[in-house]
Amino acid sequence: MNFLTASIESLGAKLTGWFSVGYSLFAFLAKAGLLLMHPGTWNRATFDVVIKQVYFTSVQILHVFLGYSLVISWLIVSIILSTARDFGLSEFATEMTIRVLVLELLPFLTALFIALRSGSAINTEVALMQVNNELDALDHCKVPPMQFEFMPRLIGGVISVITLAGLAGLVALLVAYFSIYGISHAGFEPFTLTISKVFDFVIVAGLLAKCVLFGLAVTLIPVVAGLETPKKFFMVPVSVLRGMMRVFFAIIAIEVVSLALKYI
């Protein structure tokens, strides 16, 4: 009987915890969304911080990211081409490359890349700011932390995921073209025809929505996890651990839902 009670209590505590995390995420997002629409938010200072965030999150890592996309694309394209040839399905290789790489794998890997590089840094920084009372100090000086610290990170994350996933997709398309047709413009027409067939409005809108959700997941979750940190230094690693686990599950959930909506 005691075991049953303890199990129910533990399950209840977990459910309440998940609900409370979900609530704080959506409440924070709603607050940021409302602030985003407020004309007073868009002053020179906030705009400067957004530019800095985009620079640190995407421009600074561009060469590494493009190299990494090139290698991954080349590997996956080679695997798809050789498998398609083995099964006599060469005419579907282009479409398969676009569907596997450009629509699914590269946005997913981009989100993981930014989560590991910037998401963990954001989580640690916000947790340290919370523990150090830096947010209270900003409040005292009437510098709104939401405008100065958090919202630029959310916007920077979303812009970075969209642009990096787009660039990676472009690299993948170039790699696919050269792998299939070689250095010749003979295949340009069938290749672009396949691209236009795959990228209809619904697919493009879905890809954009997925990238926006990825961008929010890799920035919003670390910010909220950082803000939840109790004011004790030894809790900072625990906060980062929790935040990054949530980011991982959120990225997987977004990808699974996107696949289910597209193919089931």
Partner: protein
């Protein structure tokens, strides 16, 4: 009221001048260049222009105090409260140091120092 307190730290990843410039940037809606100029001018007035590029972890306690004081002064509030200076200025004889800083700036308003009772003898001239 503007406070200089050990409970209100500087933003650790910003330099001294950027910490101060945040206030004209957000409250005065000045651009980044003008805000930085105002912040630097205040540090010059306080006789510590050299600390402008330093970040919090690279500052001595006195330099950190000067930055916090400049941040409080640029708020232009009628009361300035220095809370437990002994907890922030443990590397300089602090009542004299604060007196020197106060003499350098053209601040209007009231300066108050809230210190522990047992430090009272330090303030007797």
């Amino acid at each position: 009221m503007a406070r200089v307190s050990p409970d209100l730290p500087l933003r650790a990843n910003l330099s001294a001048v950027d910490n101060i410039a945040l206030i004209p940037l957000y409250q005065g809606h000045f651009n980044a260049t003008e805000s930085g100029r105002q912040a630097l001018m205040l540090l010059e007035q306080l006789g510590h222009a050299g600390i402008a590029p330093l970040r919090d972890p690279d500052m001595t306690p006195a330099q950190r105090f000067v930055t916090k004081l400049a941040r409080a002064l640029i708020l232009h509030r009628p009361r300035l409260v220095i809370d437990r200076p002994g907890a922030m200025l443990y590397d300089v004889p602090y009542p004299e140091f604060i007196r020197q800083l106060a003499g350098r700036v053209e601040a209007t308003g009231v300066w108050e120092i809230h210190d522990f009772a047992w430090n009272q003898p330090l303030y007797t001239p």
